[in-house]
């Protein structure tokens, strides 16, 4: 039997905490069971931290909402064991096409090279994403989902956070060492502590129409500027699973949101695009505006804000949910180390440093796209149209066309957790970069590099096919540290080695792509964080330098 994720209702279950005399203490309470809250909760629980998730509702996302999930998000969900199902159900795509009036002006491929496990994007309705994460979460013994549990009071205390929770059976109190607030763009928690998300609101209204139809369009992102079927505005077409197509119409600033939702207004717009005889059913309609904004600090004492609660972007570029999932994974390993008293509380400040930096990048990208798509005056429209006209014949202008710079993870160049390079490297894998994937052979089976790392710190050693006893002993000693480091040996293409007796995994760089992507030579050593970000690298492995970089990456130096 297949589950109808649009109709699932989760039961409210009375918690033992409601009968306790004193507020029960939990290490982590996550507020909000959306994609970000669930990702954070699953990551923490799987790293051994018990988590309670509170949600004011008992249903999954209403409507398809965030549909574009980026490669990095899929890699994060792969690490958590939830990625495959999303990709199986989702529509994978790499190609985008841009039209101006009635002409195709250019197309782009977001993942021009092969040798990655995941595509640039999948499209998947948010209710599937949340449904799959929920099912994964429900199977974890140390993760408790509490539905119809609305946080109505929150108070930071020296050693934690006091929460008041309202349920169908009345209120109760809880105490959390840390709270992760993933309660959305209007974040009630943010309001309760007197914080704001500050930025720029855009006046243009947009209409989302999800329609079900049999259509022969390829799985690509099609974006029209000023098309003949919707003059002076933009339109975006995207394919979702179940023969559902997302059509996003720009309506302008004067549109009446209530009127525009009516079928008699929506159907002619869709017919103008698809033709008068097109057969389709409307699945979901929404009229929205957006803003680009952020909180000044994502960390407020022992309350940590993630996703839309912390920062908002326009939808162009799919940088909302995708950046939130990265917030969640950035926070999970840090919180785990701090709760285990293996790292000082200051490590949590770096969550704000790193994800604040990423939010600024996302806000800048999405603001620029919005300004290109919705010109605010005649001269900006003139430049926009001139750019689009030139882009048909001139490659340079295609680089200026901005229908959304699609979500890429930030490289955390300035992170205090990075150890700056002292050796010379080229390429993308600088300290702060999310680790690149590549095909490997593991114990005789074809696999992927990213599946071998993450969760703990990893040392990735590019070997010439041998491993000296000294290095082997150093790896063994690092694996027994207070903050353990697990070594992975990458053997060159064509050389397969057994795993070393000390438990070090050996992978074969089966297509030689890891050496390329990491600009590695024999002896190159990368230190990777639990969230699969590079934090240090050297041309030669040195155990003391590694220990120092590990201390720096955990604020324990």
């Amino acid at each position: 039997m297949t589950t109808d994720y649009q109709k699932v209702e989760f039961p409210y279950v009375r918690s033992q905490d409601q009968d306790a005399r004193e507020p029960v203490d939990h290490p982590v309470v996550v507020v909000g069971a959306g994609p970000i809250g669930l990702t954070a909760a699953i990551d923490l629980a799987q790293q051994g931290v018990p988590v309670v998730v509170l949600d004011d509702d008992n249903k999954l996302s209403s409507g398809s909402r965030a549909i574009c999930f980026a490669k990095r998000t899929l890699e994060i969900w792969d690490r958590l064991g939830c990625g495959e199902r999303m990709v199986q159900k989702g529509v994978s795509w790499n190609v985008g096409k841009v039209y101006f009036r009635d002409e195709l002006v250019y197309s782009f491929n977001l993942l021009p090279e092969s040798g990655y496990r995941r595509p640039a994007f999948i499209n998947l309705q948010q209710y599937y994403c949340e449904g799959y994460l929920c099912e994964h979460a429900q199977a974890l013994a140390n993760l408790e989902l509490r539905w119809k549990s609305k946080v109505v009071g929150v108070e930071g205390q020296g050693d934690g956070v006091a929460l008041r929770v309202e349920t169908p059976e009345g209120p109760y109190r809880l105490h959390a060492d840390y709270v992760i607030a993933c309660d959305g763009a209007r974040s009630p928690i943010r309001g309760m502590i007197g914080q704001e998300s500050i930025g720029r609101s855009f006046r243009d209204r947009f209409l989302i129409a999800d329609v079900k139809m049999q259509a022969g369009f390829p799985p690509e992102r099609w974006f029209w500027f000023d098309p003949p079927f919707h003059r002076n505005q933009s339109v975006l077409l995207h394919r979702q699973p179940d023969d559902v197509w997302r059509i996003d119409f720009q309506l302008g600033a004067d549109a009446d949101p209530e009127e525009e939702k009516k079928p008699e207004r929506v159907i002619p717009r869709i017919q103008a695009l698809l033709g008068r005889d097109a057969q389709f059913e409307i699945e979901w309609v929404s009229v929205y505006t957006f803003s680009c904004s952020r909180m000044d600090k994502f960390r407020q004492g022992r309350i940590l804000f993630a996703g839309d609660a912390a920062h908002c972007v326009s939808p162009f570029g799919a940088r909302g949910a995708n950046s939130g999932v990265q917030d969640a994974e950035n926070l999970a390993w840090k919180l785990k180390l701090v709760l285990a008293r293996k790292a000082p509380d200051a490590l949590l400040d770096t969550y704000d440093d790193e994800r604040g930096y990423a939010a600024n990048e996302n806000i800048q990208c999405s603001t620029r796209a919005t300004d290109f798509i919705t010109p605010k005056n005649n001269v900006s429209r003139m430049f926009r149209d001139a750019t689009l006209k030139l882009s048909k014949d001139h490659a340079f202008a295609r680089r200026l066309v901005n229908s959304g710079r699609l979500s890429l993870p930030a490289t955390l160049h300035d992170s205090p957790l990075n150890t700056p390079d002292c050796d010379t490297f080229s390429g993308e894998m600088a300290p702060g970069a999310p680790a690149a994937d590549g095909p490997v052979m593991v114990r005789g089976d074809a696999g992927w590099f990213l599946a071998q790392i993450g969760g703990d710190f990893n040392g990735v050693y590019f070997s010439d096919g041998t491993l000296s006893g000294d290095i082997h002993r150093s790896f063994a000693s690092l694996s027994r540290g207070a903050i353990p480091l697990t070594a992975i040996v990458v053997a060159p293409k064509g050389i397969s080695l057994p795993d070393s007796p000390g438990g070090t995994t050996v992978v074969e760089d089966s297509e030689g792509l890891l050496r390329q992507r990491y600009d590695a030579r024999a002896g190159t050593f990368y230190l990777m964080r639990p969230d699969q970000h590079v934090c240090a690298r050297w041309r030669r492995f040195d155990v003391d330098a590694t220990r120092a970089a590990l201390a720096r990456a955990t604020c324990t130096g």
């Binding site: 001269v379 430049f383 149209d385 006209k389 202008a397």
Partner: protein, 67 residues
Amino acid sequence: MQTLIVEPNIVRPDDFYEALIDMHRDLTDEQSQMANAALILLLANHIGDLGVLREAIAAARTSVKPT
């Protein structure tokens, strides 16, 4: 580092100016503005250097609205 050249640099200045005005011959105001925008974009790409472009943008703005 390159800087914006403001000393004479156009080989035959009168020919250039004539060509610039000629570009707009028979164009409506709107078409002229569009052509100007296209010209700016083409020249900007030719220059390429963001520092030089920023200097030119600042000089152009100052010429109509002194700071």
